[in-house]
């Protein structure tokens, strides 16, 4: 009898037994898509696990994995799991100094990394990480003369040798695995304080993968593009847990810069991207449309208007007049179909966005083209699995209904609490944090404030800790305001201030691609971000956006006081290398408030100009100064909407 498929290695071996020749992994290498079947993957994982074991890797040990989405890095997760070890994927774009914390916190002895860049960073961190003893690398380029590091190929060779000498070893190890073993440790992004290691079990991630797969009827012939950071819980669910559970194909892009081309070549059927990717895609489409011929521009404008009117209704299967259906069909032939093809979305059955709020116009745009884009809600602690939007029940301002197996309730203070099989086992070495976030009833405190809307879907307002009050006592939800600002393509990032103050002020980062293109079309010369951001024309452009947001806020009950009265455009882009954003690009509010205290004071003291000098870190670790005289402008506020007569 076949053993139960209750761990990832057993699931993988099940696919290798039942459908050995089906594609499991693809990667574009030297210009050609290479394919590995489930049989190939099983053989590779076997050799890899034996190699690690031969080099002393034991049950319970941690294997750090650092790099872009490479097949071998995904397989090495399976190999570590076979041995009862715990893979710890790390953000590949973090500098060496940030590695030190995670490497020490997780007590890493073994690391498998992509290339020279990552090896260099590990070696730089190594003197401060006494436990680190074994480093393996995938791409040998530039590493020929390094000492003390081993290539993936040598590890495999050693593994095959070990396997021949100990033929029963691999199967024994697989048999030792239990569903409640920890299968992965993912670090939280750390918007407040140090990142924490979240330990998840096989059972938890399999439950999340299974729930999602059944909810969206995923199939073994589905195909996904794996291009999001491997250290992010979203990628681990979509490109690992669901991959091994359902047995579909993951496709690794050729390089970080070729994702758009690769997306088009693969044409995934199942797709996951944070809102900023959808935003960038749309910006690119718009820029190219502006350069297109008159006829094409007219066609695009006309048929996107048709799609706006009836596209989402048709997608949701609602009643639409015949005339509109015919117009939509023509539009599909002339505009939507070709556009989906250019975007690489022709074959998409299910697409999700999560990680941040998505703008209503952006969301509707994709849905109106016939792309089944939906939202989900989850976190590292919940395997990115709490709420999902069902087909036909999609709203831009909610994150979906509780997913199968998830119990969800709202606490008295508005915080979202969840319970279910997908919850974390613990925070690593942080029993205090574990006890704080999971209460006696077994509910996990998400830290998000939200409520259930009448249709039974969850609506998230903000991080509970960020929701404050203005000096006059009205509610202040900074994230809510920032999201409204960020929905404008010209605004890339915004930080709103107002807790315990008499009014709301904001920092703005312009989107240099979108505003740059706008400036080019107006013949407005600029030399770089700092220069562009200081242009009076750009201030006028952004003020328009801010005032539109103010008009929306004025119309919402209780939020009229949250209108943005004054704003400034920052002289530099907020950056994770400067600790202003997390690696998942979330604003670190407290840090920014401290760092730019003079600017906040200037906003509230009514000054019109403020000089600032800021230390910036470049990607290679060097530092430099950026100085600027920042203008501060007022934005018009609207009178609050009159309450409707009852």
């Amino acid at each position: 009898m076949e053993p139960a498929q209750d761990t990832f290695p057993r699931l993988m071996l099940h696919h290798a037994r039942t459908r050995p020749d089906d594609p499991a992994t693809r990667e574009k290498d030297l210009g050609i898509w290479q394919t590995w079947s489930w049989r190939d993957v099983a053989a590779e994982v076997r050799a890899l696990a034996c190699g690690l074991a031969a080099n002393g890797f034991r049950r319970g040990m941690h294997l750090a994995i650092v790099g872009d989405n490479r097949p071998r890095l995904y397989w090495s997760m399976l190999a570590a799991q076979v041995l009862g070890g715990v893979p710890v994927p790390m953000y590949q774009d973090a500098p060496a100094a940030e590695f030190v914390f995670v490497l020490n916190d997780a007590e890493i002895d073994y690391a498998l990394v992509e290339d020279q860049e990552q090896v260099d960073k590990l070696l730089e961190a190594a003197p401060q990480v006494p436990s680190l003893s074994h480093i393996y690398y995938d791409d040998p380029r530039g590493l020929r003369n390094y000492e003390g590091v081993t290539s993936y190929e040598r590890l495999l060779d050693k593994g095959r040798e070990y396997d021949r000498a100990h033929p029963g070893f691999f199967d024994e190890q697989v048999a030792l695995g239990r569903p409640d073993d920890v299968s992965i440790m993912l670090y939280t992004s750390g918007t407040t304080g140090r990142p924490k290691g979240v330990r998840q079990t096989h059972a938890a991630f399999i439950a999340a993968a299974k729930g999602g797969a059944e909810f969206d009827k995923l199939r073994p012939d589905d195909s996904v593009l794996s291009y999001l950071p491997m250290a992010w819980v979203g990628d681990h669910l979509f490109s690992f847990a669901q991959w091994v559970y359902v047995g579909f194909t993951i496709n690794c892009p050729e390089s970080g810069d070729t994702v758009m081309t690769d997306l088009r070549e693969i044409g995934p059927t199942y797709y996951f991207a944070p809102p900023r990717i959808f935003e960038n895609l749309l910006t690119q489409v718009m820029i190219r449309m502006e350069d297109a011929s008159l006829v094409k521009r007219w066609l695009f404008a006309h048929f996107t208007a048709v799609a706006r009117r009836c596209g989402t209704e048709i997608l949701d299967g609602r009643n639409v007049p015949l005339g509109d259906r015919i117009r939509y069909a023509i539009g599909n032939l002339l505009v939507y179909g070709p556009l989906r093809n250019v975007l690489g979305m022709s074959r998409i059955r299910v697409a999700y966005t999560a990680g941040a709020a998505i703008g209503p116009d952006l969301f509707r745009f994709y849905r109106s083209l016939g792309i089944n884009l939906k939202q989900l809600y989850g976190s590292t602690e919940t395997c990115a699995y709490v709420c999902l939007q069902p087909d036909g029940g999609v709203h831009f301002d909610t994150v979906g209904e509780p997913a199968p197996g998830v119990e969800l309730t709202i606490a008295g203070n508005g915080e979202v609490l969840v319970r279910g099989p997908m919850l974390l086992k613990e925070y690593y070495k942080r029993p205090d944090a574990t006890a704080e976030s999971i209460d006696a009833q077994g509910y996990f405190h998400t830290g998000d404030a939200g409520y259930m809307d009448p249709s039974g879907q969850l609506k998230i307002i903000d991080r509970a800790a960020d929701v404050g009050k203005l000096a006059d006592g009205s509610m202040f939800a900074p994230n809510y305001i920032e999201n409204k600002l960020k929905f404008f393509p010209h605004i890339k990032e915004a930080v709103a201030f107002g807790a315990d103050r008499h009014q709301v002020c904001a920092f703005i980062n312009i989107d240099v691609g979108s505003v740059g293109n706008w400036a080019e079309r107006r013949g407005l010369p600029y030399s770089g971000y700092t220069d562009l951001a200081a242009k009076p024309e750009v201030y006028a452009l952004i003020r328009e956006c801010v005032e539109k947001v103010n008009a929306e806020l004025a119309a919402e009950p209780g939020l009229s006081g949250s209108q943005v009265r004054r704003f400034l455009i920052l002289h530099k882009e907020l950056d994770p290398d400067d600790d202003e954003l997390t690696r998942t690009r979330k604003v670190r509010r407290g840090f920014i408030a401290d760092k730019y205290r003079v600017l906040i004071d200037a906003l509230y003291e009514g000054r019109a100009v403020q000089h600032i000098e800021t230390l910036v870190k470049f990607e290679d670790g060097r530092t430099g100064m950026v100085a600027a005289d920042l203008r501060i402008e007022d934005a018009k506020a609207q009178p609050a909407a009159l309450p409707l007569a009852a």
Binding site: G31, L123, G142, N145, E254, S255, D257, F618, D620
Partner: protein, 263 residues
């Protein structure tokens, strides 16, 4: 970080008392230096010092009036461009010389020109031999594309690329010829700090991985001092210094002519 243990070999190219003049203008006067196998050899000097002329003498664009060039044991008075290419010498240019309307891929394919053995007719009718050869050449080109990390622009026309990337494509084309000696004329001119760092890494990787000998002209002193094994310094067509970066840095004539007051 472990230092790469490159094995610098014997002299493969030596220039002996080279003089080159254009009418009354003396571009190079009595210059002697050599290049060893597997080393990175830099030629530096102020504008108009004769650096590019020197490179042009090496790869046969100019024929010096006096002096001899010995390349891999063969002594001549001047090099011949075609023979130079066949002898495994490739170069890049100070002002980019690519086919602007052609894609990156096609541009790099032109670097394989000398490796093509099939005839024009065989290629025109897509004869089996021609097809196999094309595949082999393409595979080599893809290796270079991967090496220089330019996969994302494979199909982009060169004219649409920013300057820094065009420089990289030019290096790719030179590498596609699988040279044993690579001449780089200001590979980092006009680049920003990040692009320069990338280019330095590529130059060192080429040198380390393929063992290619590299002669480069460069203005950025930091770059030269970092990546070169030996440096020759020219000023007004004369050699005023030659040695390791440290030796050159301490040479008073060099400091006076080029680096300005010591800092």
């Amino acid at each position: 970080m472990p230092t790469p243990a490159r094995r610098i070999g014997d002299v493969i190219l030596s220039l002996d008392r080279i003089s080159l003049a254009f009418g009354g203008v003396k571009a190079l006067t009595d210059i002697t230096f050599d290049v060893r196998e597997h080393e990175v050899r830099a030629i530096i000097g102020p504008n108009g010092a004769g650096k590019s002329s020197m490179l042009n003498v090496i790869n046969g664009v100019y024929r010096p009036q006096q002096g001899t060039i010995t390349y891999r044991g063969k002594q001549r008075h001047g090099m011949d461009s075609h023979a130079v290419a066949e002898a495994g010498i490739a170069r890049t240019f100070q002002n980019i010389a690519l086919f602007r309307g052609m894609s990156v891929l096609d541009n790099i394919m032109t670097g394989r020109n000398l490796k093509v053995r099939t005839s024009f007719v065989e290629q025109a009718i897509w004869w089996r031999r021609a097809r196999r050869e094309e595949l082999e050449n393409r595979a080599k080109v893809e290796e270079v594309i991967d090496f220089l990390e330019i996969q994302h622009i494979r199909k982009t026309p060169v004219g649409r690329l920013p300057y820094g990337l065009q420089k990289r494509v030019e290096l790719a084309r030179a590498l596609a010829a699988e040279p044993s000696l690579l001449l780089l004329d200001e590979p980092m001119a006009g680049m920003n700090v990040e692009e320069k760092q990338d280019m330095c890494r590529f130059v060192l990787d080429v040198n380390e991985q393929y063992g290619t000998t590299i002669v480069l002209i460069e203005h950025d002193m930091g770059v030269v001092m970092d990546i070169s094994d030996r440096v020759v310094v020219l000023d007004y067509g004369r050699k005023i210094g030659d040695g390791t970066p440290d030796e050159v840095r301490g040479n008073q004539a060099v400091i006076d002519a080029y680096l300005g007051v010591a800092h």
